[in-house]
Symmetry: C2
Amino acid sequence: MRHFMGFLGCLVLPAALSCAAAVPPDTADREAALLLISTEALARGQAHARLRTLVTEHPGRLAGSAALAGAVRWSEQLLLGLGLDRVWKQEVPVPHWERGAPESVRMVPPAGSSLPIVNLAAAALGGSIATPPEGISAEVVEVRSLDELAGLGREKIAGRIVFFNRPMDPAEPDPGRAYGAAVDQRSRGPRTAADFGAAAALVRSMTQSVSDLPHTGGTTYLNDGRNIPALALSTVAADRLGAMLAADPLTRVEVKVHSRWHPEALSHNVIGEIRGTAFPDEIIVVGAHLDSWDLTPGAHDDGAGVVQAIEVMRIFRAIGYRPRHTVRCVLFTNEENGLRGGKAYAAMVRDSGEKHVFAVESDGGGFGPRGFSLGQNDGPVHERARRWLPLLQPLGILAFTAGRGGADIGPLLPLGVPLGNLLVDEQRYFDLHHTTADTIEQVHPRELHLGAAALASLIWLVDQEGL
Amino acid sequence: MRHFMGFLGCLVLPAALSCAAAVPPDTADREAALLLISTEALARGQAHARLRTLVTEHPGRLAGSAALAGAVRWSEQLLLGLGLDRVWKQEVPVPHWERGAPESVRMVPPAGSSLPIVNLAAAALGGSIATPPEGISAEVVEVRSLDELAGLGREKIAGRIVFFNRPMDPAEPDPGRAYGAAVDQRSRGPRTAADFGAAAALVRSMTQSVSDLPHTGGTTYLNDGRNIPALALSTVAADRLGAMLAADPLTRVEVKVHSRWHPEALSHNVIGEIRGTAFPDEIIVVGAHLDSWDLTPGAHDDGAGVVQAIEVMRIFRAIGYRPRHTVRCVLFTNEENGLRGGKAYAAMVRDSGEKHVFAVESDGGGFGPRGFSLGQNDGPVHERARRWLPLLQPLGILAFTAGRGGADIGPLLPLGVPLGNLLVDEQRYFDLHHTTADTIEQVHPRELHLGAAALASLIWLVDQEGL
């Protein structure tokens, strides 16, 4: 059993609310407060039901889409319904790319072969330019790395389709690390291939699983008119193409992409806050990103983070907690293909001179929490936070590691803001990352709600005791 | 990047194998050895494919069943195929209970009501006696605890069906703890109800999820001829019955169970070992249980542990590791309804005087590993083991906690053997525990293989350095 005495009376009696700000709570107080938070999150959690609504009504929330605009309205209404002290939107101009009609990749045996033409499961990478309507057909150059590509040189690449086929390392226990070690093929491969005169680029999907789901994602282009169409192949399709090329290097591939770039659109960061009782001008942020890739419901990425950030605010309201610092929920727009929301928020902070004492985000999927990464311009924030581990262990938080936040709050780092990132059990994450399979059915209610409890608990501790 | 130097040459060259026993390896050696283990487990892991075979060919491996006998043969053949130094079976007499034709629970409105009769999803508890063929029909007494039952007394209970309906606490973050706090209703409830003259017992399924899956499990009887039929209701069915009783306390329930007790059967613990080079008479056990409840494929419980224990042996063979102590894989029979396998193994150890230096088991499901519990008659083994955390952290092992082993190895505790238990992320476990839904599709290959890597790594460390 855990202690209920002490802090409980302070929390549930409105007349006594300000006592939270008077003195740091003792151990029994802290345990009682964190128990209130976790009980609210687990026994009366609303995040999973809200996530179902978000991904059912607003799937494919890519920048510029009606779905993202709908998610902006939906989340603003939710925050308004929580009775926060202030809810508003920050305007953010965002890029606007559309996939258009379904893309296709076909594997075409050389003339004279008796083998059939085979369709390969593929998804255009975000931002890919279109092919001509009749597609692009060419021989294929398979490489395992950008270095290998450079070694081949222009003569062997020009006019061909470059196929990046280095798998995410199956022996790497940490899928995020394996992703980081392979994703240069997707992020920089197509542009590098273009520089060598390639006609198009295919990239093996970023996953350790063997599956016929293509994983889209961002790729980096320059604005010089020399970009080329770029698509991800499922790992099954990549293995199949690799095997066919080994059997017959003259195998051709036909690629069709019908995407379109539109003028920039207007989107919004959605923001709600509870004003601090002792330090109203010092702000703690809990954030996530509202947008998703166009082809996915975006349940884990990052619908989960969105509903967790909202849930933190709901929990504080439900238990009657009045934070000492201002606690602000920031739902960023356009993380996936521009990071404009994160950059715009940091610019606002810089320009306004607002003081941010902590920002934490959830963008690793709604799986069971395991820890937090913490960092501040490489300061040892995570080491100081370890004193809280015994308090957070019941929620599955077993470690504080060094880190530098996530994508959305990353632009706050140069402003000296300590950043945190919720770490989760992510073995299943890269099975469905940026795919049509990132659905509500893959999100476990208790795992999602434990994450919300962990975020609320960490913010409570930072609010009460400082980092 | 990690170190490959040093230990690698020692491990892969057969001529140099014995050097592992000569001196404790230094840090780089340890990292290299553990990297060999995790690479073998993740890049070439066979546990998931083997689990698919086990649960497809031998589902419902309850003591006395042909399925369990098949699993005994299958696992013995697997161990023989690994080229271990010795593979054998230990004979174990086991109880033999059969469910028989499908059980049923019907909710029957009182005479004169216009409400329909409703079928409730139910599963006889393991060991339940049968009802008469025509069933038992009676009014229902709903209670939340054994204390409440005792307070009602014989007069209000005799002749009625007792319905234990206290949920596993939804606010408890640790599902295992919530299970432990609710399971007395299943384990002792029916017999206690029988002592007050009840006609039958219904128990709310042991899960925090809201689902129409009934969860079977063990219940404790006395051999005095006064036991009563006992069944689990799904949580949906339990809520439905509770609501109907609130509306009309005269609602009756009709229960049919067609189970049968047979004479004891013969089963086996399946055992395989690699002899130690330095201390062949000192034994390290890695264990799991072969049996499962009759109605489930038993993928997580405990097919996962079985294939992980086998995988530990395969990994050691594949990387050419010759342990200093004898490493023994023990696949226990009859954990679910008798623990005869675990008891027989401990009796053999006691009678033979074999020295066991460590035993570890995996029986918490094949989810992502998070830590180990360790204990030895309440000694601080887990504190000493914490020196290994930096080495095991890449596999997700973030904590060593105090523990007393699992069910199968528990009988070794009085013999002074230090015991370990693989701890996993178990939020999803009690959704499917003891149900038809405990299928291969619920087991993630990488999570399963990380668990095998964690077990092999801990055993390697204990073998090299002692606990």
